[in-house]
């Protein structure tokens, strides 16, 4: 069974977070902080907003399919 797209998106978000944590262990200078605060954090936040909206929409679509069966 194929996972829902929002679930796959969540998994990708976790993988990116893990990659950042790993990079941050070795990359701790000024540019690292600028990159993290100025670019990566907004990306992660916007991704969470999108994935939450996608999850809500997928829930609605599943409910519509289920409730109108038969």
């Amino acid at each position: 069974m194929t996972a829902r797209p929002d679930q796959d998106g969540d998994r990708q978000l976790r993988l990116l977070g893990d990659a950042w944590d790993k990079a941050a262990e070795h990359w701790r200078d000024g540019p690292a902080r600028q990159f993290g605060d100025g670019q990566l954090t907004p990306l992660l936040q916007e991704s969470r907003t999108y994935l939450e909206a996608l999850r809500k929409l997928m829930d609605t679509l599943e409910a519509a399919d289920r409730e109108t069966e038969g």
């Binding site: 797209p5 990659a19 990079a23 262990e25 990306l43 907003t49 996608l54 679509l61």
Partner: protein, 152 residues
């Protein structure tokens, strides 16, 4: 050697992760859109079938009512089954119409959010990747300059 270039290796790993993320989330957005399109089409097909059944059911109910009006009072015609079928199909059709309205409303709200996210995937993420490539190149250049000269 591992420790010396650990930061560069870590940055390369982060760069690769960003590229994978961009491709994977593009796929996620496309599948989300496909799912929305499929459910809309499925609801419309169900509504279309029900409209046809309702039309047929109403015609049968009307014919039954005509027969009932002309029937012998001692042998009445029962049309309640037709009436029930029309009522049930009307309710199911209304239920589908309400789901279609709800999905349209939620999809409308969603379109703004997906627009921002798609823009981020298409424009911001490639810029971040390029930024990291530049940082990696800069670090590698600095290491080459600082590398000790060995020789006789």
């Amino acid at each position: 050697m591992t420790g010396i270039h650990a930061d560069i290796d870590a940055l390369k790993g982060l760069h690769d992760a960003l590229v994978r993320y961009r491709h994977a989330q593009r796929d996620v957005t496309a599948r989300g859109e496909d799912r929305l399109t499929a459910t809309r089409a499925s609801l419309e097909a169900k509504a279309s079938r029900l409209r046809a059944q309702l039309e047929l059911g109403q015609a049968e109910y009307t014919a039954c009512q005509d027969r009932a009006a002309q029937a012998d009072p001692d042998d009445p015609v029962d049309c309640s089954g037709y009436a029930r079928a029309v009522q049930q199909n009307s309710e199911r059709l209304e239920q589908i119409r309400l789901w279609q309205q709800r999905i349209d409303a939620e999809a409308g709200e969603f379109s703004g959010i997906i627009g921002r996210f798609a823009d981020l995937l298409e424009n911001d993420l490639p810029r971040m990747e390029e930024h990291l490539v530049a940082i990696i190149a800069s670090l590698e250049a600095a290491r080459r300059v600082r590398a000790p000269v060995s020789g006789p």
